[in-house]
Amino acid sequence: MSQTDLARVGRALRRAGLGGVAVGELNGSLLLEGTLPAWADVVRAGSVAAAHRGRYPHVVNHLDLPGLPPVEPQSPRLRDSALEGARPDVAVIGGGVIGCAIARELCRYDLDVLLLEKESDIAMGASSRNDGMIHPGIDLRAGTLKHRYGIAGNAMFDQLAAELEIPFVRNGSYIIFSAAWERLLVPAFYLRARRGPIPGVRYVSRRELLRLQPEVAPWAKGAVYTASSGILCPYGLTVALAENAVQNGARVSLLTAVTGIERQGDRVTALHTNRGTVRPRLVVDAAGVWADRIAALAGDEFFTIHPRKGTSSILDKKAGYLTASVLAKAPFADVRQHTKGGGIVRTIDGNILVGPTAVEVRQREDNSTHQPQIDASFEKHSKVAPHLSERDVITYFSGIRAATYEEDFIVGPSPRVRNLLYAAGIQSPGLTAAPAIAKDIAAFAVKALSDRGPVGLNPHFDPHRTAIPRPSEMTAEAREALIESDPDFGEVVCRCEGITRGEILAALRRPVPANSIDGVKRRVRAGMGRCQGGFCSPAVAQLIAQEQGIPLWQVRRSGEGSEIGFGPTKGGERDGTV
């Protein structure tokens, strides 16, 4: 490309007070190198470069703070050769909602699919750490991949949720105006809705808003309501996608990190992992916050992920009266927003979620929480619903969004490596977009794999996945019949959420089985309630120990090294009813 482009970016950086940044080119992308004193400057430099990148499609930002070791992925300690010699048609790297949706989509074809996930379970990153909203796309800019896949994905959820038997409702969302002038923007919303197309968008007057959502503060000047906005359990979706993929022949290999990639010419020939070398015909990079690292390992680095942390709080179901929908203040007063700015979200399970916030961070897997983030989100959102209170908080969590500096998704084939596809830079509304992205990636995969003759359909593909029964949601008759067929479904173990022994055992025996206390919690909600597992976690641990045939103290809370105990007490471990 041209020197004038590079010079222009250099000038823009200097104008922004970011001198000393070397501007160059890497794999057809703009490259920033050097050190800056603060992480905020590193991110700002990337954003300034993206804004002035001209014909360069992407920005690679190698800037870092001086004197610090580079941020490295946390890797599993496990070493074995379980995958040695595996030659799948497709290796999907990353077991988040994107990777799992892609694996399932690929199973529609006659393909051998292997999904690699470095954590001890699927959905361990952003996929289990978001608000679960299926966004309508009303706030997305036309022409972006976020807009395209967000709107297409939203429309796919009725069918998908039915096929996977996951609870999903379109509970609508309100963008609430705080200033009268904001109502002038209503025609722009209607225009966006028509162009989207986004169904069910309408203006709601102040009076109607306060009638429909009586907890909204009286200052509200009206709202734009979008009926197609929905809600689901994001890890529930991810687990269901993975289970359905496995049911249809895909393999999921957990605790599997890609440590090196071999390339010959314009093809990837091998993935080195801690569990052996895999030689796939095609690779899909759905590695979330590490997608750029995978690209670099393949000698194809052309974008950079900058981690953006979001913290959300979960309120007791008692606070569910606040709204059955999603409430958010219109963001027009805020200068620059890379996320929807959070809101008050009624989750699919009846809790209220407050958040998420958005903070640029250097570490990519540091999901630690900090009180100022929680205070900030309550301060912000209690303006919308004055009764919102930190006293109702039962838990909180952080997640890391995998943003690129172009703030858009990257979906499709690598420009340089013929058998490498990317589903990268997936941030909000990634959950919404997942099924649409997966569909396109599968199409790209089939095209890329057709070099050795056409790829046929999988005649046995069954899109239907049967969910674990939820007795607490059943009619009395159905519940009785279930208990009669399996008494374990009559015995409640988790008192707060009313989860039975049968559900917990089922979670431990699924196609992608839970292997930890948290894994059970994500699949069936045992421990998700107000006591946060204080009562049921020993009982859940006991069931895990039984199923895995291990001593109780070796049961893991989550991943490697998270065993609940250090051995038996002096009297020895008990075995029996407690």
Partner: protein, 426 residues
């Protein structure tokens, strides 16, 4: 459909005492318990000191519970274990209850209800402990369950946050199991647990108690690797610069108990913000006629002996009500008290000949103090105390007159005082 006079929900010390007392009045009683065994939290309280008031001897928790469980035999009490209530509603003059068990979904009707659902522990999230989320953060009760019921050693070196009684008991228990308790950190300037527990569980074992200190952060990937502690100021805010990193493999929390009243709330029974349980009269009847509440569900107790006493009253009165043996209760007299109290139970009294047991907790540690309970101009009771501490629930007995609120008041007193009874904590 099965019909009982009295349905008791919960098979811990409160539920056991209530069921037995109800049956003694001739009621046909059903007791539902969620777990596979009766005894509630006492099952895991293997330390001694229970029952000094009730049985005149120091018993372990399981022994105390067994004294009640043994009495169940031969009584007209249907005990249903592994039984969990899924819905509760008013029906006719009584209540319709649905519960689930391994045998199916069952419905029954009862003339009166006794809620003896106990309490739960406040969690790390509820006190906003931040940082990573590794394994090794346990509430004291969960740690106690793992050690005493499951035989699992959950830590080799831990920090305990909060000086509530279970935390103190666990400091000693873990030390006996060979674990090192680095220290107990308490954000308040004085301990939350009973004085005897400070002495017997910390001092005797050389475990340091850090008052006005808290845990600000948890660090660790798989397992807890360290916690950050800090001194707190008068407003309980961490003092910058006082942070200290303490290497450990577990953080054990003893930061408060919350009465479990989701069933009461499902009946629309309002909760008292001071006790966090339903408001009751001296018979332990809630604002919903026919619904009684006792034990840690009505207010967190420190002595199981008082739990049993109150629960027996609740059970007896529930039976009398269900059997129609009870004259219409006299109009309630409100109990009033100032900010020097955390709470006074019951929230209402009724005039009558029988003395009513009242329990109170002070808001702050006090030296010589006189409790004065009056109604109208008349003093109903005066009692002097050498020392009063918030963790210790005090009991008095009253016989209020016909009308007007009953007012509890504390006065500073210099004279020599008698002290409340000494007995073991839960």
């Amino acid at each position: 459909m099965e019909r009982f006079d009295v349905l008791v929900l919960g098979g811990g010390p409160a539920g056991l005492a209530a069921a037995l007392a109800a049956e003694e009045q001739g009621a046909c009683v059903c007791l539902l318990e969620r777990e596979a065994r009766l005894g509630g939290i006492l099952k895991q309280c293997i330390h001694d000191g229970f029952g000094l008031l009730r049985f005149g001897e120091r018993l372990t928790g399981p022994e105390y519970a067994d004294n009640y469980i043994r009495l169940l035999g031969g009584r007209n009490i249907a005990v249903r274990l592994r039984s969990f209530v899924t819905s509760l509603e008013k029906s006719g003059g009584g209540f319709a209850v649905t519960y689930t068990s391994r045998g199916g979904l069952h419905r029954l009707e009862a003339g009166a209800l006794v809620l003896a659902t106990g309490c739960r522990e406040r969690t790390a999230r509820q006190i906003f402990v931040h940082g990573d989320k590794p394994a090794g953060v346990y509430t004291a009760g969960t740690a106690q369950h793992l050690v005493n019921l499951q035989g699992v050693l959950p830590t080799r070196r831990c920090v305990i946050l909060g000086s509530g009684d279970i935390g103190l008991i666990m400091a000693r228990r873990l030390t006996l199991e060979g674990a090192e308790v680095e220290g107990v950190y308490e954000a308040k300037p004085e301990p939350s647990g009973l004085s005897r527990n400070i002495r017997q569980c910390l001092t005797d074992f050389g475990i340091p108690l850090h008052l006005s200190h808290t845990v600000t952060r948890v660090l660790g990937e798989g397992r807890v690797e360290a916690v950050e502690t800090a001194r707190v100021d008068e407003r309980m805010k961490p003092v910058p610069g006082s942070e200290r990193l303490v290497p450990c493999d577990a953080l054990i929390l003893s930061v408060g108990l919350i009465p479990e009243n989701e069933l009461a709330e499902s009946l629309g029974i309002p909760l008292d913000p001071h006790t966090k349980g339903p408001a009751v009269d001296a018979r332990f009847e809630t604002d919903c006629p026919g619904v009684f509440c006792c034990g840690n569900a009505v207010q967190v107790h420190d002595l199981v002996d008082y739990v049993s006493e109150g629960a027996a009253t609740a059970g007896r009165c529930a039976a009398l009500r269900a059997l129609g043996k009870e004259a219409a209760p006299a109009p309630a007299l409100p109990v009033e008290y100032g900010r020097e109290f955390v709470s006074v139970l019951p929230q209402r009294l009724r005039p009558g000949n029988e003395p009513a047991a009242c329990y109170f907790r002070v808001a702050e540690t006090r030296g010589p103090t006189r409790l004065v309970v009056s109604q109208g101009g008349a003093v109903l009771l005066q009692k002097s105390y050498r020392r009063l501490r918030p963790p210790e629930m005090e009991r008095v007995s009253l016989r209020p007159g016909g009308s007007g609120p009953v007012v509890f008041r504390l006065e500073d007193a210099a004279e020599k005082a008698q002290n409340g009874p000494a007995a073991a904590p839960l």
